[in-house]
């Protein structure tokens, strides 16, 4: 992985976010500095309410920090940027659009011709295992199905950078593993002869195993106001498969992370 290191795609310096709401001022992100390399897969762990979603919103250009700076491809980030796919913590689907139409949204917005939209969307519907539900409205989908629609939507326009906020939170263990594997396949293992370019991914997760299995690097945040408690490289070989989970190396890394959190 380090062999491919070119330049940081995201560089965060002294990032601070405070909400002046509720009763008084709430400091959410304490000065926070880190950089994410191009094509790196970073998982973020941290206790509930520490500021993970807030961090992701800042990185996505959806929230301007109170202090500090975020450089995206070397330039200061001033708003959402092209080629970034986001999965929000809740599925965040448009209730008036069918599963299909929700997934098609990013393509519609970037003006993809109709004829290309349908095959691509169906490809993703298959990827997330929702065959037969293309025409369903969000209200008739189960929690996990809605979340899978949201994942498909974030991937459909093949963005370079993915910001994922607990994308698998509502999925059962098996589906979760399948989706993780898909993510690895389309995003990371691409370099091994798959799609054109590998993606940069920053993903919030609560599952330590998942973080170890997927990531190149795991950031552990402390309780609010969040600081980086640990920044661990996951030097496990790729491509990774299910058996990796039972290796001592994997267990050791997971244990280390668990300890750092506790």
């Amino acid at each position: 992985m380090t062999s491919l290191k070119i330049e940081p795609i995201l560089a965060v310096t002294n990032l601070q976010v405070a909400f002046s709401d509720g009763n008084g001022n709430l400091q959410v992100l304490d000065p926070l500095s880190f950089a994410v390399d191009r094509q790196e897969f970073v998982c973020v762990l941290g206790p509930s309410g520490c500021g993970k979603s807030t961090l992701l919103r800042v990185l996505g250009g959806l929230l301007s920090p109170t202090h500090g700076e975020v450089l995206f491809r070397g330039e200061p980030l001033r708003g959402p940027r092209r080629g970034v796919g986001v999965v929000f913590q809740n599925a965040n689907l448009m209730p008036w659009r069918s599963a299909f139409a929700n997934i098609a949204l990013p393509l519609e917005l970037q003006g993809t011709p109709e004829s290309e939209i349908a095959p691509r969307v169906h490809e993703l519907i298959e990827l997330v295992g929702l065959q037969g539900f293309a025409d369903w409205l969000p209200r008739d989908l189960s929690g996990g199905m809605a979340q899978r629609v949201a994942i498909a939507r974030a991937l459909v326009h093949d963005p370079d950078v993915l910001l994922l906020d607990e994308p698998f939170g509502a999925l059962d263990a098996l589906t979760r593993e399948q989706m993780g594997a898909e993510l690895l396949r389309i995003a990371v293992d691409a370099r091994n002869g798959g799609r054109a370019s590998r993606k940069t991914i920053i993903m919030v997760t609560h599952a330590i195993d998942e973080a170890v299995f997927l990531a190149d690097r795991v950031l552990v945040l402390g309780p609010r106001p969040a600081q980086i408690r640990m920044d661990v490289r996951i030097d496990l070989p790729r491509p990774r498969d299910g058996n990796l989970r039972y290796t001592p190396q994997f267990g050791a890394l997971a244990q280390r992370l668990r300890d750092s959190i506790g």
Binding site: G79, N92, M94, L109
Partner: protein, 254 residues
């Protein structure tokens, strides 16, 4: 089955009302110019249909209503959107908008007539003015209710202002907006008729005036019924639009 039920109900209730109407006339022995009988009204209706006068007046009113509705709708939606997006603008402008709504038509009708002449324009303007407010308010309320999270989604996809409007704000605000349209469509009819009362020589409102002037109450009834039918048709159109556009929202309630 529900639809059959409904049709039956309406037919029964209509027949019931006709009966009641006739019974009132028999019982109270009311003269025709106070309350004409259903038969009277039907005959008068056929007359005005045959000599083409009803159609002519209906055409005029319909044109005024549609034009007024269109003008009121467009301006209200546009203004409402702006005010919804800026609370400052809303605070600054809403006193003037409310003021404009609370000046009684009768007080400004002469001005309208002086400026616009006694013709079509003044009626269209009155209808538009009366449509404006409910559509405006509901546009504001509707746009304000668009979930923040979906804005974030659209921003993350680098949607343009126009795309946000088209793909997010319009569909999300649609339920409340259509509520405003329901009110507006009904009021547009009233608006055009009020304009015709203030001064006109054609239209259904004028026909009512004529009927009243000549104590031809059957003619008044004919004109009123046609007006009501017009309003119902417009309302039905809006409801149809709702059924079509808000299908995604509907399952739950049935």
């Amino acid at each position: 089955m529900k639809d059959t039920q409904r049709v039956i109900f309406i037919i029964v209730s209509l027949i019931g009302m006709l009966l009641l109407w006739q019974v009132i006339i028999w019982a109270a022995d009311l003269p025709a110019f106070v309350l004409p009988s259903p038969g009277n009204v039907a005959r008068r209706f056929m007359q005005t249909v045959e000599d083409g006068s009803l159609l002519r007046h209906l055409g005029v009113t319909l044109f005024e209503v549609l034009l007024g509705l269109a003008v009121g709708l467009v301006t209200a939606t546009f203004t409402g959107y702006l005010l919804a997006k800026s609370r400052l603008l809303e605070r600054l402008l809403s006193p003037y908008i409310v003021a404009s709504q609370s000046v009684p038509m009768v007080a400004i009708a002469p001005l309208l007539v002086i400026w616009l002449g006694p013709g079509l324009l003044s009626k269209v303007l009155i209808a538009a003015l009366i449509v404006f407010f409910p559509v405006l308010v509901n546009t504001i309320v509707g746009v304000r209710a668009v979930p923040e999270d979906l804005y974030a989604l659209m921003h993350s996809l680098q949607a343009t202002r126009w795309q946000i409007l088209q793909h997010l704000e319009i569909p999300a605000a649609m339920p409340v907006f259509l509520g405003g349209l329901r009110i507006g469509a009904t009021l547009a009819v009233i608006g055009a008729v009020v304009g015709e009362f203030v001064g006109a020589d054609r239209g259904l409102g004028f026909l009512i005036n004529v009927g009243r002037g000549m104590y031809d109450t059957a003619l008044v009834f004919v004109a009123v019924f046609v007006l009501v039918a017009l309003a119902l048709a417009l309302y039905g159109l809006v409801v149809g639009l709702e059924n079509h556009l808000l299908a995604w929202q509907r399952r739950a309630e049935e």
